[in-house]
């Protein structure tokens, strides 16, 4: 009796662990049956490139959610970092350049964009750690403020005519692989290792699993919260750079509602909104599911209105099918 229960538990566990992966595979198979174009290498690279921005954000968001937090500011921080980075990457010969007399090497816009993300994240983290207000409110505040700052900085206009070296980040390829994919893979791998193999990662799970226990074990919870939100901010900053270089233009309206897609990716991928549970691999699969949906529905020529209905239904269905019910009550 004991034994058969354990066996059953094991297969259940397997599906529980990789359920969403199987569902993803199922979607891919279905798509490739419905549309012959789907499985072409070019199109598959498309899908991954299209989720690279959401994926970057979602890595940070996953970490935040594991600590029982939430980050609504990602999309706005992305926009702020995009306009700041773009402003330092304009072509020297462009007439309406923002800083007409400054021509700086590529590293400057990149660092500037990342720095913006880091700063926004750190501010949010400090507020959450020190004042104990709900992350929902703190990041909602940053969501509004960062969008305002992006508009002020750019005066509401796109910052365009960017250098081709900058555009390479979003549009270039290395060995045939689009550069944004490389950025995503590298950052996802780093985040994965960070979460699974470092003290920092252990503390992320510990804080989310039981904050009291973390305190009692001598972990400086406040410090780590600041670090976690800072890291998430940094990833939003990088996403801003990738997105602006992808469209050759830094715009203050970029990334609206991206935070929702990022949170959805994490939750679809099994991260619990109650904290303590979550994996980067799951999140990336979650993002891929959303990406395959967007791509596939376009390939299938589903009408714009109906796309929404299909997309909503499939997201819900995927999570229902996935065995890991109850991965968070929210």
């Amino acid at each position: 009796m004991e034994r058969s229960r354990k066996m059953k538990a094991k297969t259940e566990q397997l599906f529980r662990k990789y359920g969403i992966f199987f569902i993803f595979i199922g979607m891919v198979v279905l798509m490739s049956i419905l549309s012959p174009a789907f499985l072409k290498v070019g199109n598959l690279l498309n899908v991954v490139r299209q989720i690279s921005v959401i994926g970057l954000i979602a890595c940070g968001v996953t970490m935040v959610i594991i600590t029982t937090g939430i980050d609504l500011s990602s999309g706005s921080v992305l926009a702020l970092s995009a306009v700041v980075a773009a402003s330092f990457a304009q072509r020297a010969d462009w007439a309406s350049k923002m800083y007409p007399n400054i021509d700086v090497p590529l590293i400057v816009p990149i660092l500037a964009g990342i720095l913006v993300g880091v700063l926004c994240g750190a501010i949010v983290g400090i507020i959450i750690a020190k004042t104990k207000i709900p992350p929902f409110i703190a990041t909602l505040g940053m969501m509004i403020v960062a969008r305002g700052a992006a508009l002020i900085y750019s005066d509401g206009r796109p910052i365009s005519s960017l250098k081709s070296s900058y555009n390479f980040i979003g549009q270039g390829k290395v060995l045939g692989i689009p550069f944004p994919i490389i950025v995503l893979v590298v950052m996802a791998a780093i985040t994965h290792v960070l979460l699974t193999n470092t003290k920092f990662g252990k503390y992320v799970y510990a804080i989310g699993g039981n904050e009291n226990a973390a305190v009692v074990s001598g972990i400086n919870v406040d410090k780590y919260k600041v670090l976690i939100y800072t890291y998430a901010g940094m990833l939003s900053g990088m996403a801003g750079i990738v997105l602006s270089s992808r469209i050759s233009s830094g715009q203050p309206g970029l990334g609206v509602a991206y935070e929702l897609d990022a949170i959805a990716s994490a939750v679809i991928g099994g991260t619990s909104l109650n904290g303590g549970i979550g994996k980067i691999t799951g999140t990336i699969i979650g993002a891929l599911i959303i990406g395959v949906l967007n791509n596939g529905l376009d390939l299938l020529n589903v009408s714009a209105y109906w796309q929404q209905i299909v997309k909503g239904v499939i997201i819900v269905a995927a999570v229902i099918l996935d065995e890991r019910k109850n991965r968070g009550k929210k």
């Binding site: 470092t198 252990k202 503390y203 699993g209 039981n210 009291n212 226990a213 009692v216 972990i219 303590g276």
Partner: protein
């Protein structure tokens, strides 16, 4: 005994908003001794310990550590001084492994700065082996029973190699076997010169293990005595401030007809083929080791979990109970084993906690009748002498004993005929325990049937008319009050047939 104090706390006062938890108390602990800290629920024991481990700062007072005055800033500081603690509230991180929990905050790293999982697991394995605890270091905490969770906490506190280990109710969730093991560990530590502060509501443990005893009452220091100079009654008197003689208030009740009959109840993987009955006026004790399936049987009867097969009769009529709602309609009540998990609404008021199970009684049209609710609550508070400033108090702010009383009041308000009490006195002080026992007797006298699960054999022996014993999901026997002894129960509980 030497006068070599490792910890000296003097004139400690601790205020919380609206509560004076500690009022000018003292505590002095010698090296190489076990110092018991005793007091009723809410006496301030845990609060004092939290000032030692750096979770709270005392409002006033001094702490001397190894003769030197210190201000313990936070837990990290305390750990580095050589103080560790088993917390009363078990606080595992559910989705992390045993090893990760034990080494949280001091994970071994390899030369790349990455956590060395292998070493961590090996160290854990060695530690657990040394302490004679059989748990897989790679198991997730969420998969462990409460007992094993507690054993992990014990192992963790010891793994710091501290000079002082505080144990705040370390045995609240473990059985005799593990307690014996713990005591072996404590004796060894003591012989190595480690000091231990031991807090428990179980009197026999105190006299078995402690060298010295300090007693608090209502946040005030009462006395410190050598254990050998005290006995049960004297200690209780110090704690409650009055005499409290008899331990078990078992009173005779008239035993009537069978009210609940369970036949061949099975829930695969949890328990199998369990049959028993209980009569009006009877207290049926249910004994067994941890994980023997007692809780599961009762939850299944109450409709919390589904059964696979078997029948349930109430007053000789077959009933189909699918949900607790059905069970309550059949005049059953279940006081669950884990107060926090399945009993309390921590952030709601005493009143809301009390009326939730029979709210239909207080309806006037579609609204609730405040007056009826008031009356019911006041009755509940009075009947069980719940110590609370008001019924609007958030129940999370009450002591554990008082929380338990509110839960009992909740079920009494439903006017049940069959009361199932799962570990009704866990973590509860002697005074409150006696009151709960008295109440059980009274309920039996009123013709109600009481089923009591308890892991404390003296309680089972003292209170039951009849005792059912379980082992690994099966009923192994039944003993009448006169026939039962610790030995006969343990015999059945370890799986030997009657």
């Amino acid at each position: 005994m030497t006068n070599d104090y490792i910890l000296e706390m003097e004139n400690i006062t601790k205020e919380f908003p609206g509560v004076l938890a500690l009022d000018d108390v003292q505590l002095k602990v010698r090296r190489g001794t076990v110092h018991a800290l005793m007091g009723e629920n809410g006496a301030g024991k845990s609060t004092l310990m939290k000032t030692v481990i750096g979770i709270h700062q005392p409002t006033k007072g001094t702490i001397k550590w190894k003769g030197k005055e210190v201000v313990i800033e936070n837990t990290n500081h305390a750990l580095s001084l050589g103080i560790s603690m088993i917390h009363q509230e078990l606080s595992p991180i559910p989705y992390m492994t045993v090893a990760e929990n034990i080494y949280l905050g001091r994970e071994p790293v390899n030369k790349f700065g990455l956590v060395d999982h292998k070493k961590m697991e090996k160290d854990t394995e060695e530690l657990l082996k040394r302490l004679d605890i059989e748990i897989d270091p790679k198991a997730k905490m969420a998969e462990l029973s409460i007992a094993n969770t507690q054993m992990v906490e014990i192992a963790k506190s010891i793994s710091y190699n501290s000079d002082l280990i505080i144990m705040d109710e370390p045995t609240s969730a473990i059985t005799e076997k593990e307690v014996d093991n713990l005591f072996k560990i404590i004796n060894k530590l003591r012989s190595e010169g480690v000091a231990i502060i031991y807090i428990s509501h179980k009197m026999d443990e105190i006299f078995k293990i402690s060298d010295e005893i300090t007693v608090f009452r209502d946040g005030k220091y009462i006395a410190t005595e050598l254990a050998e100079n005290l006995n049960h009654d004297k200690l209780v008197q110090l704690m409650v401030g009055r005499e409290l003689k008899q331990v078990f208030h078992k009173e005779e009740a008239e035993i009537g007809d069978v009210i609940l009959e369970v036949k061949n109840l099975t829930r695969k993987g949890y328990f199998e083929d369990v049959s028993f009955n209980v009569r009006r006026g009877e207290i049926l004790g249910v004994a067994g080791l941890m994980g023997s399936g007692r809780t599961e049987v009762m939850e299944c009867i109450f409709g919390v979990t589904p059964k696979d097969s078997g029948e349930i009769f109430i007053n000789n009529e077959k009933v189909d109970i699918k949900t607790p709602e059905d069970a309550i309609k059949h005049k059953m009540a279940l006081l669950t084993e884990d107060r926090k998990l399945t009993g309390l609404y921590l952030m709601l008021s005493v009143e809301d906690n009390m009326i939730i199970a029979n709210i239909d009684e207080y309806k006037k049209g579609i609204f609730l009748d405040k007056k009826k609710i008031n009356e019911a609550c006041e009755e509940g508070i009075e009947k069980l002498s719940v110590k609370t400033p008001s019924k609007e108090q958030i129940i999370g702010n009450l002591s554990g004993g008082n929380q338990q009383k509110v839960l009992i009041a909740r079920w009494l308000l439903t006017q049940p005929d069959i009361l199932i009490l799962d570990e009704p006195t866990r973590g509860i002080d002697v005074g409150a325990k006696a009151e709960i026992h008295k109440l059980m007797s009274k309920l039996a006298q009123q013709g109600k049937a009481v089923i009591m699960i308890s892991s404390e054999l003296p309680e089972v022996l003292g209170m039951s008319d009849r005792i059912m014993v379980m082992h690994e999901g099966r009923k192994t026997g039944e003993l009448m009050r006169g026939d039962a002894t610790q030995e006969t129960i343990m015999h059945l509980a370890t799986g030997k047939k009657q």
